[in-house]
């Protein structure tokens, strides 16, 4: 079974500052990893995913994440945030061994960008 820990429930940051949202996972098998963003009263939108290949993954809206197998981490970063990035962010993991394994989500990190 997999589990995901998002280390910060809330992250306030000033506009144009860099941000890192932390995600650690636990799994006994190889994994796929995902970051989603959720704006108020909306569903989840995929930001980026790691399936294989380069450990640095670039996503939409200028976000990127790095898969670190030894640290079992998949932290999300953006060099300069905008007000419009204010949202909740979810990290998720699933087993690579079976395409049918459900996603396991972290509890979310609320990013608040301050003008």
């Amino acid at each position: 079974a997999q589990s995901v820990t998002q280390l910060d429930s809330q992250v306030p940051v000033f506009e144009e500052a860099p941000v890192e949202l932390r995600c650690n996972y636990s799994s006994s098998v190889s994994v796929y990893l995902f970051w989603y963003v959720q704006y108020p009263n909306q569903g989840l939108q995929l930001l980026l995913k790691y399936l294989s290949g380069s450990t640095l993954v670039k996503g939409i809206n200028g976000f990127e994440a790095e898969f670190n197998k030894s640290q079992t981490s998949f932290h999300l970063r953006k060099p300069s945030v905008h007000i419009s990035d204010t949202a909740e962010y979810f990290c998720a993991v699933t087993s690579r061994n079976s395409g049918n394994t459900p996603l396991v989500f972290g509890k979310g990190t609320r990013l608040s960008v301050i003008a």
């Binding site: 429930s9 009263n41 569903g43 989840l44 995913k49 399936l51 395409g99 996603l103 989500f105 509890k107």
Partner: protein
């Protein structure tokens, strides 16, 4: 773009009512999932389905059932709604290569 559609954005129901939440996908994918989302608890898996007429319990199936009569449609049923089922419900479809597409959610309030 692949699309997952949840028929209602907002619903208000009375305690004891039978409630149907509908989810339709256009990607012809076998896998569909229902989650509920609550503040501080993240997304919790209720039920999922890997094919027509099959279903599997997730982490919190109590008080819910599902129906998958056609590949594109996966319905979540609250047999007798209770106030502790007030939540945001999210449907998901697809596999890893798609990034698993979500619907826009149904916010259900049970009074």
């Amino acid at each position: 773009d692949v699309k997952v559609t949840q028929s209602s954005r907002y619903l208000v129901k009375r305690t004891g009512e039978k409630v149907f939440l509908e989810c339709v996908q256009d990607m012809d994918h076998e896998n569909m999932f229902w989650y509920r989302q609550d503040p501080g608890l993240g997304l919790r898996l209720i039920y999922f389905s890997y094919d027509v007429k099959m279903k599997e319990k997730g982490d919190i199936p109590e008080g819910y059932s599902v129906s998958r009569e056609k590949k594109e449609r996966f319905s979540l049923i609250l047999e007798s709604a209770s106030t502790n089922q007030t939540s945001m419900y999210l449907c998901r479809a697809g596999g890893a290569s798609y990034g698993y597409t979500f619907g826009s959610g149904t916010r259900l309030t049970v009074v």
